[in-house]
Symmetry: C2
Subunit: 470 residues, 2 copies
């Protein structure tokens, strides 16, 4: 396994000689910016160096340097991760992709070849220049990297109709633990030659290799959506409406906010949301106009059948987008209320009501505010546990509740993470969820591809357990 | 690696005692039916026994029996595979899934839990009872198993719009080489906890484990399509039209047949196809009516711009289906002309013209008829190399041409197999296509999960090369 890191200055000089001083950061003040992602892991280490790679060759050189010395390598996109998947390891190398941002769109094949540091929003914009669309849309799309999206198999709002990141990844170049660069897949819409290694690397959270180039599948531009907003007096009514809609229609967005979330957003936006509502749904249809009208009218009817207190819809794209923006700013809005622990549990849709009710109980039991927002159409919720960082007792109660929410999701047949990844924060729950046998398969594949555990050690998989496997 | 098989009768009695005589076939005449799939591999072995499993537990018992004795295990669905992925191994166990055919549709979550022996058509029919749809549609859908579809990551005609099998697999139960049964994924639309093992097993062609239950994602029923048929006087015009259409529209089907294929189909159907046409396209739009009309009219215009000799379309679903049936029967129709070697090469769409032209040259050079049909919209072609089995020289020329077609596809940036799998027939070309480093990754994962190579030895990966890795 990982040797004791040894990175005295003369050693780093070799790395600087190989990559150029501009690509190797050793200045402590700058390094400080690379220790955390948005999970703010209190156990983050201080890396010996940050490599700002400019090419696959740079990544190979950095990995070879680290491998020869048993140094941990933590790949890093934009640092927007929410599970600690880019937490720096003490004495290791942070391999930042921030300078690798090329995007080449190939309109004839509806593909894009992108470097991992490009932002999701930049990929979308480059595609849009050719009337094409890269669908996956995490709420952080304006400041998250496409490489991070692929490392976590990121989701988003449109996934309910358009699928998640893995559905759009056709191929990649990946640097392995021994420094070799391998091309997997490519711009072919069908390809079944050998094991599907491309899909294995998607969602591997930097534990198997470093992705340095990606071939993405694009689709024609989305049509302007019709947007429906519905409020409900009870959580039950809202979850029943979600189930009715999602089992009968195929909206391109089906988002949920509960009362604490609505109020936090209203505090920020003053856009006139109903502060008394127990829940609000934001739903879109992007079908061709005539069919979209029918779809939205039927969805309206289902909301009304489930006792919606107010329903309205608009075909004005700008007016509709205001509500989507409101939903996307829910996390920063709730963050104004205190420190937060951000959850990402998901359940099969018929259990969504049980999950939401159960989380309300956990909130009461521990006297911790839990603001719930959700990609409701695919059963993926983001409970935000709010606490005062100065109140140690409340902080502890929040952490207890955080674990209980995952236990509840597992008990309901759900997952501990729908789209954010396991990272470091959720590692303790991985075995409870996927079970010892599936965990063993994870260990075997990790050991087969990264036998010395240099890639992102401590993320997803427990180094001690890996040692026992190896 | 695999020990020398030893399956004397007393040993098989232990298997019969464990599973019941009805589940273990040792009668030589019956066993004969399980030696080949549709690839008719001349090197197929004779298995010691065929296990007709009725449950995951049966599969576990059979795998444990085989593992304890180092016997090869070849999983088998409906035997419709085209690359020899279910070719029996001498002295081994064929593990047939033909009795495991349960299908449970869950309309609320739009999922289905199916056993691997169920036919694709049976899954579609069960989904249709709830106004749901399982899209992947290999031409063999009426007689291929869903387990085989998943083992090969099967494609089909609608994939150009709706993606391939892997896009619809949410989870599975898989029996590992040591007999453990592991559940991977499940009925959750988003789930990123740990490595994406579900997607790794999709397309693994029985080399990593035996899939005994699958959770599939379903979508709302497809709308009745509008069908357009266009003929062209030259191959160039047709491939230019394909490129223009697929880069600007999103048809739900975009199929191609060349002159030899058209004529073979016409010989069988007498439906009045244009025997003089160099190429014929069958194209569908399944958009809502008003938009479908627009899409089909624009596609018609693009066909005409590319010198189509005739274009017509119909909104009559039955009339349209006749042309789709004609396309689906192309392989059996060409099979009437002699023995065939069936190819499955695919290229990025801008190279489709080069591929079709190059195959015409190979056909001329070796004086072998190559009838080409294609899922043109995703660049996936099925050249059928026709030869007289009694003419040894022609047979040899056909085999030479078969290899040259794959070499050509690789040279054009294409794949040796788009949807049929590597099996045994294409194994010699795998390394040329994916390269030594990607092959090494395949080997490492195979050795990590099946260290004694009991699962489908000789399929996809070369046992000698695995030995060298292990």
């Amino acid at each position: 396994m990982t040797q004791t890191p040894t990175t005295d200055a003369p050693q780093l000089q070799e790395l600087i000689d190989a990559l150029g001083a501009g690509s190797v950061v050793t200045d402590p003040a700058t390094i400080e910016n690379y220790r955390w992602d948005r999970a703010n892991d209190p156990d983050a280490g201080t890396p010996a160096a940050v490599v700002r790679a400019t090419s696959t060759e740079d990544v190979q050189a950095a990995v070879r340097f680290a491998a020869a010395r048993g140094l941990p390598v933590v790949p890093r996109g934009a640092g927007s991760g929410l599970s600690g998947g880019s937490t720096a390891v003490e004495g290791g190398i942070v391999l930042s992709m921030e300078k690798m941002r090329d995007i080449q769109v190939e309109p004839l094949t509806r593909t894009a070849v992108v470097q991992p540091g490009a932002f999701n929003a930049e990929v979308k914009a480059a595609a849009a220049e050719h009337d094409l669309w890269y669908p996956p849309d995490p709420s952080s799309f304006e400041f998250c990297s496409i490489g991070g999206n692929i490392a976590t198999n990121a989701g988003g709002l449109c996934c309910v109709k358009y699928g998640v990141t893995t559905d759009y990844v056709l191929g990649m170049t990946v640097v392995l633990a021994d420094g070799r660069a391998v091309e997997l897949g490519g711009p072919r819409l069908k390809d079944v030659a050998g094991l599907d290694l491309t899909k294995l690397f998607v969602g591997s959270e930097g534990t198997l290799g470093v992705i340095t180039e990606i071939t993405l599948r694009l689709v024609p531009s989305q049509r302007p959506p019709t947007t429906l907003v519905a409020t409900f007096a009870t959580l039950e009514d809202s979850t029943e409406a979600i189930l009715a809609i999602s089992s009968q229609w195929r909206p391109s967005m089906l988002e949920f906010m509960d009362k604490p979330t609505i109020n936090a957003v209203e505090d920020t936006t003053k856009m006139g949301l109903d502060r008394e509502a127990a829940a609000m749904l934001v739903i879109q249809s992007d079908e061709p106009a005539e069919y979209a009208a029918k779809e939205i009218e039927e969805i309206e009817a289902l909301c009304n059948e489930n006792n919606a207190t107010e329903v309205f819809y608009t075909t004005d794209a700008e007016e509709g987008e205001a509500f989507v923006v409101a939903r996307r700013m829910a996390i920063p809005a709730v963050e104004q209320k205190g420190s937060i622990l951000l959850e990402d549990v998901g359940v099969p849709l018929p259990r969504l009501g049980d999950l939401v009710r159960g989380m309300a109980e956990i909130s009461q039991n521990h006297d911790v505010v839990i603001a719930v927002l959700a990609h409701a159409g695919d059963g993926n919720t983001h409970p935000l546990l709010v606490f005062d960082p100065a109140d140690e007792d409340q902080k502890q109660r929040a952490h207890t509740a955080y674990g209980e929410v995952m236990d509840l999701a597992i008990a309901l047949g759900g997952t501990i993470t729908g789209e954010h990844g396991v990272g470091r924060l959720k590692r303790p729950w991985l075995s409870d969820y996927i079970g010892e046998d599936a965990l063993d398969l994870n260990h075997r594949i990790k050991m087969a591809l990264d036998p010395h555990n240099i890639f992102n050690p401590g993320a997803v998989l427990d180094p001690a357990a890996l040692n026992a496997t190896g």
